[in-house]
């Protein structure tokens, strides 16, 4: 394992799993929703790779990778709250709202404690755009594709931009990685999606993480 990978691993452990611990238990046990564990590592991997490929600042990339994941997860967890989905009120409604709120707070904490504190407004603008689009989507005015584009591609491009990636080809790769990631999550047959990703060397880094189904898997993958 390289020094950079070790640093990445330590940073992820410290900044991720601690967030979900509560006074007497953790959030994982309280939520009825699929907790998107396989979605935890996309942005950190992407940022890390971008830093290596473009000789950019590693620690800045680590921080942005976590922040973008927290932004992504908070928005997606809040999106899981639906007007008519009330199997268990606490697990379907109360805890997802609170966890999403908690992650908003964590975004600020992680961002402002790193070297990217001047990026806060960029993330806040992004969240405003996304929340407004979700309201429009709930009104039937914005379709699922537009929302997915915002959730994956726009956030990946924003993260790359904040890291300092300017090269057009590289940004195109970021865009396609985000699309491949979104497509991988959507595929019902995850194994065929994984085979396809592995076959395409450019996005092979996504394949293993999409197999994560448990907290143990996640800890091992980190």
């Amino acid at each position: 394992m390289t020094n950079n990978e070790q640093a990445q691993r330590a940073y992820l452990k410290e900044n991720y799993l601690e967030i979900f611990k509560l006074k007497n238990n953790d959030f994982f046990g309280l939520l009825a929703i699929d907790f998107y564990l396989k979605e935890f590592l996309f942005f950190p991997r992407l940022m890390n790779l971008l830093a290596s490929r473009n000789n950019l600042n590693d620690s800045k990339a680590r921080n942005l990778g976590i922040v973008s994941t927290l932004v992504y997860l908070s928005a997606k967890i809040h999106y899981s709250v639906k007007d008519n989905k009330k199997t268990t009120f606490a697990a379907d409604m109360q805890f997802p709202i609170l966890l999403g709120d908690l992650l908003y707070g964590k975004v600020i904490e992680v961002l402002l404690s790193g070297e990217n504190s001047d990026c806060l407004n960029d993330y806040l603008h992004y969240l405003q755009e996304l929340n407004a689009a979700v309201v429009d989507h709930l009104n039937g005015e914005v379709n699922e594709e537009v929302l997915a584009e915002l959730r994956y591609v726009k956030l990946a491009l924003l993260s790359a931009d904040l890291l300092g990636v300017k090269d057009e080809e590289e940004l195109e790769w970021v865009k396609n990685s985000a699309k491949a990631f979104a497509a991988g999550l959507k595929k019902e047959n995850i194994s065929s999606a994984l085979e396809q990703l592995k076959a395409d060397g450019d996005f092979a880094f996504l394949a293993n993480d999409l197999k994560i189904t448990s907290l143990e898997d996640l800890e091992r993958s980190i």
């Binding site: 709202i97 609170l98 709120d101 908690l102 402002l112 407004n121 309201v135 709930l138």
Partner: protein, 327 residues
Amino acid sequence: MSVVNVIKLHKIMGDELAKVESYLDQFLHFEHQEIAEGALHTLHAGGKRLRPAVVIMTASFYNNADKVVPLAAAMELIHMASLIHDDIIDRSPTRRGLPTLNVTMGPAKALHTGDYVLTKALEDVYNLPRGKEIVKILGNLSMEMCYGEVEQINSMYDVKQTIEDYYYRINRKTALLIAVCCQVGALASNASPQEVQKFYDIGYNIGMAYQIKDDILDMEMSEKDLGKPAGSDLAHGIMTLPTILTLQKDFAEKEHLLDLIKSRFPKGQEQVQEALELIKKHHGIKEANQYCRRYIEQSKRLIDELPENKGKLVFKLGAEYVISRGY
């Protein structure tokens, strides 16, 4: 007494509070029409504006009240965003007599409206002097508030709760936000680190007293004054200080009181009323008032330690208002 105090308080800060109100009204005219309407609906439902008042009170101490109007307004917006989410979490149909966004927009849209308001408020604060420092405090505050809420949900109808458990919850539910309002009001006025800490401690004590009083009023006031049945916290399984203090004692009807709570009041308000009578009879409310008074006294001691300034009087009136107020 309380009314006089409030008038005095508002007379001293009247201009700034009016400016906050007008700032809020303008600020919430977002480009997104539905979100703007939802946010303005919540704003116009009213409210005590305690948080902005605390920011302004603190800044008045440094003759800086007029400069913290945007910050005071942002603290109200952050509170407003959390209320929008609370109303979904608590399934509240009304707030201050008006339908909540939970009802008018539905929970999903209300939730994203709250998020939108929060991010706008944070952006506004971030662009103020010392904004980065203040936003970091607000991020931490928001996390602690969530932890407190989770504990409240997880501990419903739990009759074994201690006073410490209750303090953990009300600190995060109310006291921290008031403490932070004092802290940021002092920070924005370039107070020394020692004074910032002192103001934080004053706010914390006032906030703890404020929530204890709120919990007492929930049991003491009539349905007409509360706008909801008396004892609604207890009816929803939230153990507040009067109940916890009562359950720490031994008395003949204790098992009956425990049964009422554990069975979640199957006969409704009639049984909630019965539980309230037992809590009153065994001095739960009276003793909770004493705890409240202790926090206020502590806040006044801390206020006395501040340098001589006419703002001290405002703070003392504010502290006294907490204990003498109605709902």
